[in-house]
Protein backbone atom coordinates (compact mmCIF):
# COMPACT_ATOMS: atom_id res chain seq x y z
CA UNK A 1 0.00 0.00 0.00
CA UNK A 2 2.84 2.36 0.77
CA UNK A 3 4.60 4.16 -2.03
CA UNK A 4 8.32 3.76 -2.58
CA UNK A 5 10.57 6.61 -1.44
CA UNK A 6 10.02 10.02 -2.97
CA UNK A 7 12.92 11.91 -4.41
CA UNK A 8 13.98 14.95 -2.48
CA UNK A 9 12.97 17.23 -5.31
CA UNK A 10 9.44 15.78 -5.54
CA UNK A 11 9.02 15.97 -1.76
CA UNK A 12 9.91 19.64 -1.74
CA UNK A 13 7.81 20.38 -4.82
CA UNK A 14 4.75 18.84 -3.16
CA UNK A 15 5.50 20.67 0.06
CA UNK A 16 5.68 23.92 -1.87
CA UNK A 17 2.22 23.34 -3.32
CA UNK A 18 0.42 23.37 0.01
CA UNK A 19 -0.43 26.78 -1.35
CA UNK A 20 -0.89 27.58 -5.04
CA UNK A 21 2.36 28.41 -6.83
CA UNK A 22 3.66 28.69 -10.35
CA UNK A 23 6.86 27.09 -11.61
CA UNK A 24 9.25 29.83 -10.69
CA UNK A 25 7.58 30.20 -7.31
CA UNK A 26 8.20 26.51 -6.64
CA UNK A 27 11.88 26.85 -7.52
CA UNK A 28 12.28 29.85 -5.23
CA UNK A 29 10.35 28.24 -2.38
CA UNK A 30 12.33 25.01 -2.51
CA UNK A 31 15.57 26.98 -2.49
CA UNK A 32 14.33 28.85 0.56
CA UNK A 33 13.11 25.72 2.40
CA UNK A 34 16.43 23.95 1.84
CA UNK A 35 18.59 26.98 2.58
CA UNK A 36 19.91 27.08 -0.96
CA UNK A 37 20.86 23.39 -1.01
CA UNK A 38 18.21 22.16 -3.43
CA UNK A 39 18.14 24.14 -6.65
CA UNK A 40 15.48 22.78 -8.99
CA UNK A 41 16.24 23.24 -12.64
CA UNK A 42 13.36 24.28 -14.87
CA UNK A 43 13.57 21.26 -17.18
CA UNK A 44 13.61 18.79 -14.31
CA UNK A 45 10.76 20.65 -12.61
CA UNK A 46 8.65 20.53 -15.78
CA UNK A 47 9.00 16.76 -15.97
CA UNK A 48 8.22 16.36 -12.29
CA UNK A 49 5.11 18.55 -12.52
CA UNK A 50 3.78 16.56 -15.45
CA UNK A 51 4.33 13.28 -13.64
CA UNK A 52 2.65 14.65 -10.51
CA UNK A 53 -0.29 15.84 -12.59
CA UNK A 54 -0.61 12.40 -14.17
CA UNK A 55 -0.59 10.73 -10.78
CA UNK A 56 -3.18 13.16 -9.48
CA UNK A 57 -0.95 14.44 -6.68
CA UNK A 58 -1.34 18.01 -7.88
CA UNK A 59 -3.75 19.91 -10.07
CA UNK A 60 -3.36 22.91 -12.31
CA UNK A 61 -5.46 25.87 -11.31
CA UNK A 62 -7.63 27.38 -14.03
CA UNK A 63 -5.74 30.27 -15.58
CA UNK A 64 -7.07 33.60 -14.39
CA UNK A 65 -7.03 36.53 -16.82
CA UNK A 66 -4.10 36.39 -19.23
CA UNK A 67 -1.42 35.99 -16.60
CA UNK A 68 -0.08 32.95 -18.49
CA UNK A 69 1.80 31.76 -15.44
CA UNK A 70 0.02 28.53 -14.66
CA UNK A 71 -0.32 27.76 -10.95
CA UNK A 72 -0.50 24.38 -9.29
CA UNK A 73 -1.74 23.11 -5.98
CA UNK A 74 -1.79 19.91 -3.97
CA UNK A 75 -4.73 17.48 -4.18
CA UNK A 76 -6.01 15.26 -1.39
CA UNK A 77 -4.11 12.36 -2.92
CA UNK A 78 -0.96 14.47 -2.92
CA UNK A 79 -1.52 15.45 0.68
CA UNK A 80 -1.79 11.79 1.68
CA UNK A 81 1.37 11.01 -0.25
CA UNK A 82 3.35 13.66 1.64
CA UNK A 83 2.09 12.39 4.98
CA UNK A 84 3.11 8.86 3.98
CA UNK A 85 6.53 10.13 3.05
CA UNK A 86 6.90 12.02 6.30
CA UNK A 87 6.20 8.89 8.33
CA UNK A 88 8.71 6.98 6.20
CA UNK A 89 11.31 9.67 6.82
CA UNK A 90 10.54 9.60 10.53
CA UNK A 91 11.24 5.88 10.60
CA UNK A 92 14.56 6.45 8.81
CA UNK A 93 15.48 9.25 11.15
CA UNK A 94 14.57 7.36 14.33
CA UNK A 95 16.57 4.32 13.31
CA UNK A 96 19.47 6.41 12.13
CA UNK A 97 19.75 8.41 15.32
CA UNK A 98 19.36 5.32 17.44
CA UNK A 99 21.90 3.17 15.67
CA UNK A 100 24.50 5.85 15.08
CA UNK A 101 24.37 6.90 18.73
CA UNK A 102 24.84 3.30 19.79
CA UNK A 103 27.83 2.64 17.50
CA UNK A 104 29.64 5.87 18.41
Amino acid sequence: MQNPAMTEAVYYILLSLTEPRHGYGIIQNVERLSNGRVRLAAGTLYGAINTLLEKGYIRALPEIKDSRKKEYELTQVGRAAILDEISRLEELLTNGKQMMEVSL
Partner: protein, 179 residues
Protein backbone atom coordinates in the same frame (compact mmCIF):
# COMPACT_ATOMS: atom_id res chain seq x y z
CA UNK B 1 27.32 44.89 -33.61
CA UNK B 2 26.64 41.46 -35.04
CA UNK B 3 29.30 38.83 -35.39
CA UNK B 4 28.71 35.67 -37.41
CA UNK B 5 30.81 32.62 -36.78
CA UNK B 6 30.62 29.47 -38.84
CA UNK B 7 31.37 26.38 -36.82
CA UNK B 8 30.23 22.78 -36.80
CA UNK B 9 29.43 20.71 -33.75
CA UNK B 10 28.37 17.11 -33.92
CA UNK B 11 25.18 16.28 -32.06
CA UNK B 12 27.06 14.20 -29.51
CA UNK B 13 29.22 17.19 -28.69
CA UNK B 14 26.31 19.35 -27.62
CA UNK B 15 27.97 19.83 -24.25
CA UNK B 16 31.08 21.17 -25.99
CA UNK B 17 28.84 23.43 -28.04
CA UNK B 18 27.25 24.75 -24.84
CA UNK B 19 30.68 25.30 -23.31
CA UNK B 20 31.78 27.21 -26.41
CA UNK B 21 28.68 29.44 -26.33
CA UNK B 22 29.35 30.20 -22.67
CA UNK B 23 32.99 30.93 -23.42
CA UNK B 24 31.91 33.40 -26.12
CA UNK B 25 29.47 34.98 -23.67
CA UNK B 26 32.25 35.36 -21.12
CA UNK B 27 34.17 37.30 -23.78
CA UNK B 28 31.21 39.59 -24.44
CA UNK B 29 29.56 37.86 -27.39
CA UNK B 30 26.06 36.63 -26.72
CA UNK B 31 24.32 34.24 -29.08
CA UNK B 32 21.22 35.72 -30.65
CA UNK B 33 20.52 33.43 -33.57
CA UNK B 34 21.40 29.94 -34.75
CA UNK B 35 21.58 28.55 -38.25
CA UNK B 36 23.09 25.49 -39.86
CA UNK B 37 26.71 25.52 -38.68
CA UNK B 38 26.22 29.24 -38.21
CA UNK B 39 26.11 31.28 -35.02
CA UNK B 40 25.15 34.93 -34.79
CA UNK B 41 26.34 36.94 -31.83
CA UNK B 42 25.51 40.34 -30.45
CA UNK B 43 27.85 42.33 -28.24
CA UNK B 44 26.98 42.00 -24.59
CA UNK B 45 28.51 42.62 -21.20
CA UNK B 46 31.08 39.85 -20.64
CA UNK B 47 29.50 37.08 -18.61
CA UNK B 48 26.04 38.65 -18.79
CA UNK B 49 24.38 35.48 -20.10
CA UNK B 50 24.59 31.72 -19.64
CA UNK B 51 23.53 29.35 -22.40
CA UNK B 52 22.01 25.89 -22.47
CA UNK B 53 21.04 23.60 -25.33
CA UNK B 54 18.36 20.92 -25.30
CA UNK B 55 17.05 18.40 -27.78
CA UNK B 56 13.26 18.46 -27.62
CA UNK B 57 11.00 15.51 -28.29
CA UNK B 58 9.10 17.45 -30.92
CA UNK B 59 9.93 20.37 -33.16
CA UNK B 60 9.93 23.72 -31.35
CA UNK B 61 6.68 24.93 -32.91
CA UNK B 62 4.78 21.80 -31.83
CA UNK B 63 2.20 22.58 -29.07
CA UNK B 64 3.93 20.22 -26.63
CA UNK B 65 7.26 21.96 -27.23
CA UNK B 66 5.68 25.38 -26.98
CA UNK B 67 4.27 24.52 -23.56
CA UNK B 68 7.68 23.38 -22.40
CA UNK B 69 9.49 26.42 -23.81
CA UNK B 70 6.93 28.75 -22.25
CA UNK B 71 7.45 27.06 -18.89
CA UNK B 72 11.21 27.46 -19.16
CA UNK B 73 10.78 31.10 -20.10
CA UNK B 74 8.56 31.67 -17.07
CA UNK B 75 11.51 30.71 -14.90
CA UNK B 76 13.61 33.52 -16.34
CA UNK B 77 15.26 31.98 -19.39
CA UNK B 78 14.76 33.04 -23.03
CA UNK B 79 14.81 31.00 -26.21
CA UNK B 80 17.37 32.55 -28.54
CA UNK B 81 17.06 30.16 -31.44
CA UNK B 82 16.50 26.65 -32.62
CA UNK B 83 17.63 24.26 -35.29
CA UNK B 84 15.69 21.09 -36.01
CA UNK B 85 14.58 19.88 -32.58
CA UNK B 86 17.42 21.61 -30.76
CA UNK B 87 16.59 24.72 -28.75
CA UNK B 88 19.01 27.28 -27.41
CA UNK B 89 18.21 29.08 -24.18
CA UNK B 90 19.91 31.97 -22.47
CA UNK B 91 19.53 33.36 -18.96
CA UNK B 92 21.07 36.30 -17.18
CA UNK B 93 23.90 35.08 -14.94
CA UNK B 94 22.80 37.68 -12.39
CA UNK B 95 19.75 35.47 -11.79
CA UNK B 96 21.98 32.65 -10.62
CA UNK B 97 23.38 29.46 -12.14
CA UNK B 98 21.48 28.22 -15.18
CA UNK B 99 20.78 24.53 -15.61
CA UNK B 100 17.96 22.78 -17.38
CA UNK B 101 18.42 19.59 -15.42
CA UNK B 102 19.13 19.18 -11.73
CA UNK B 103 18.88 15.44 -11.28
CA UNK B 104 20.34 12.42 -13.01
CA UNK B 105 16.97 11.05 -14.04
CA UNK B 106 16.20 13.99 -16.30
CA UNK B 107 19.81 14.16 -17.54
CA UNK B 108 19.61 10.49 -18.51
CA UNK B 109 16.28 11.03 -20.27
CA UNK B 110 17.80 13.83 -22.31
CA UNK B 111 20.84 11.75 -23.25
CA UNK B 112 18.57 8.89 -24.27
CA UNK B 113 16.67 11.21 -26.57
CA UNK B 114 19.89 12.26 -28.28
CA UNK B 115 21.21 8.69 -28.43
CA UNK B 116 17.97 7.54 -30.09
CA UNK B 117 18.16 10.31 -32.68
CA UNK B 118 21.76 9.39 -33.48
CA UNK B 119 20.94 5.68 -33.77
CA UNK B 120 18.16 6.45 -36.23
CA UNK B 121 20.41 8.65 -38.35
CA UNK B 122 23.16 6.01 -38.24
CA UNK B 123 20.78 3.26 -39.30
CA UNK B 124 19.40 5.36 -42.14
CA UNK B 125 22.96 5.91 -43.31
CA UNK B 126 23.82 2.23 -43.04
CA UNK B 127 20.78 1.24 -45.08
CA UNK B 128 21.48 3.95 -47.62
CA UNK B 129 25.14 3.00 -47.80
CA UNK B 130 24.42 -0.69 -48.24
CA UNK B 131 21.83 0.03 -50.88
CA UNK B 132 24.22 2.26 -52.77
CA UNK B 133 27.01 -0.30 -52.63
CA UNK B 134 24.58 -2.95 -53.81
CA UNK B 135 23.90 -0.80 -56.85
CA UNK B 136 27.64 -0.59 -57.50
CA UNK B 137 27.86 -4.34 -57.30
CA UNK B 138 24.79 -5.09 -59.40
CA UNK B 139 24.91 -2.38 -62.01
CA UNK B 140 28.52 -1.23 -61.84
CA UNK B 141 27.12 2.21 -61.17
CA UNK B 142 30.29 3.65 -59.69
CA UNK B 143 28.68 6.90 -58.65
CA UNK B 144 27.01 4.83 -55.99
CA UNK B 145 30.37 4.38 -54.33
CA UNK B 146 29.18 7.48 -52.49
CA UNK B 147 27.52 4.85 -50.37
CA UNK B 148 30.88 4.51 -48.71
CA UNK B 149 30.39 8.02 -47.38
CA UNK B 150 27.13 6.92 -45.82
CA UNK B 151 28.88 4.06 -44.08
CA UNK B 152 31.71 6.31 -42.96
CA UNK B 153 29.23 8.77 -41.53
CA UNK B 154 27.35 5.97 -39.80
CA UNK B 155 30.59 4.76 -38.24
CA UNK B 156 31.39 8.26 -37.02
CA UNK B 157 27.92 8.68 -35.58
CA UNK B 158 28.14 5.37 -33.76
CA UNK B 159 31.44 6.42 -32.22
CA UNK B 160 29.90 9.63 -30.99
CA UNK B 161 26.89 7.75 -29.71
CA UNK B 162 29.18 5.43 -27.77
CA UNK B 163 30.58 8.44 -25.94
CA UNK B 164 27.07 9.48 -24.90
CA UNK B 165 26.20 5.93 -23.86
CA UNK B 166 29.22 5.86 -21.56
CA UNK B 167 28.10 9.14 -20.04
CA UNK B 168 24.58 7.83 -19.57
CA UNK B 169 25.81 4.64 -17.94
CA UNK B 170 28.01 6.61 -15.58
CA UNK B 171 24.99 8.64 -14.48
CA UNK B 172 22.91 5.47 -14.09
CA UNK B 173 25.53 3.83 -11.90
CA UNK B 174 25.68 6.92 -9.73
CA UNK B 175 21.92 6.61 -9.33
CA UNK B 176 22.35 3.28 -7.59
CA UNK B 177 23.64 5.07 -4.54
CA UNK B 178 22.51 8.64 -4.70
CA UNK B 179 19.44 10.05 -6.35
Amino acid sequence: MRTVIRKWFWAWDFDKEEAWLNEMAAKGLGLVSVGFARYEFEDCIPGEYSFRIELLEQFPDHPVSRKYIEFIEETGAEQVGSIMKWVYFRKKTADGPFDLFSDNQSRIKHLQRIILLLFIVAIVNIISGCYNLLLVFLWHSYVNLLGLLNLLLAAGILCGTLRLLKKKNRLSREGRIFE
